[in-house]
Amino acid sequence: MATLREIRRRIASIKNIEQVTDAMRVVAAARLRRAQENIMATRPYAEKLNTILGHLISQMNVEEEALTHPLLEEREVKHVCIISVSGDRGLCGSFNSNVIRTTTERIQHYEETGADVTLICIGRRTQEHFERRGYDITDSYINIFRQLEFQTAVDVVQEFEHLYVDKTIDKVEVIYNNFKSAILQTVLVEQLLPLEPIEPEGDSLFLDYIYEPGQVELFEMLLHKDLNMQMWKVLLDSNAAEQAARMAAMENATQKAKELIDELVLQRNRARQTQITTEISEIVSGAAALEG
């Protein structure tokens, strides 16, 4: 059994750890709130963009040429680009490892069908994992989540979009943690390119619209903006999910530390009691020896 002093030292060090994990939980909670606000802030923009796009498509139904846009073109899948979105730091439960596992499975799946895979890594965790194992990485983005900017999403899109238009790659997928709620995050695999055809929406209220340049050029531009928006949503979602996962992980750790301290306090009391009993019996037996 551990000595009294050892137990006291362990209690002190676990208390320190508890303070650290609890502080991390509070920080993650604050960042989560900001991340959720960011998600909310994009909503009006995204809705407006969809409305405009829907109107435009309903106006140009007759023009078949729109459907041959390069970003909508489906090809036989020989080269795939997977964008793997993780965080830059650990201590957030299975957040990073889930993405890495799903990405590895996806790569295997494509290699079995004879397609080769290139990666775009977002976040230090996936980048380090796949680089060490010698995977083909086109580009990586690190430390973007501290100060998340829309321009980053635009840069990522530009990177894979020109590879897709060049026909260097035939399909683009993104793998990320979807933020369902503060307690639930799930890894999602979404196809970014080729784009899913968009359904026309809305009425013909806007027949007297002037379009500049033409409808087709505007349509192409809006598709591009929509793609930027999708990428932006992925980054925001992943960021919120990371903070939520870290918050939960740190809460568990703090809880565990508390339980451990309770247990050690019992042990400490027992050890102290034993020590006192020993001391008393020593004194008593010492006195008895003197009297004897």
């Binding site: 407006k48 530009q158 007297d208 500049e212």
Partner: protein
């Protein structure tokens, strides 16, 4: 004569940048700069990298740098969706200048894995921000 005003909303994916009544708005369309006044007919266009100028009802002129977006005029008002935009007063000129230098270097290097469209776009954005900031 007091000109009539209409409602203008400028949004980026990150936040609402401007909302209010204005008498005119100038914007960098892909086919050239244009100006919208009260009573313009419905109109949809794309914006290029450039400067958006707003004339508020109080005759105050405000301007911002944008990297492009969508500009929609409806009977009810004007909505501008910009990907990024900064008020002239908020532009970090030092940062813009270092971005300009970086883009120039990248373009001068001619390395094989250079993403030329991306570097050229960065150059245009940096030049635009410096220009808008200096007009203040």
């Amino acid at each position: 004569m007091q000109s009539r005003s209409f409602h203008l909303e400028i949004r980026s994916p990150e936040k609402l940048i401007y909302e209010g009544d204005v008498t005119s708005v100038q914007a960098p369309g892909v086919e050239g700069n244009f100006q919208i006044l009260y009573g313009h007919i419905p109109f949809l266009t794309a914006l290029d990298v450039g400067e958006i100028r707003i004339n508020e009802s109080s005759d105050a002129l405000r301007s911002m740098a944008t990297s492009g977006g969508v500009f929609e005029v409806l009977r009810t008002g004007v909505t501008v969706l910009v990907e990024t935009a900064e008020w002239a007063a908020e532009i970090d000129v030092v940062r813009a200048e270092s971005a300009l230098e970086r883009a120039k270097e990248q373009l001068a290097e001619e390395s094989p894995d250079l993403n030329r469209p991306s570097a050229e776009a960065a150059l245009a954005r940096a030049q635009n921000r410096i220009k808008v900031a200096s007009n203040l």
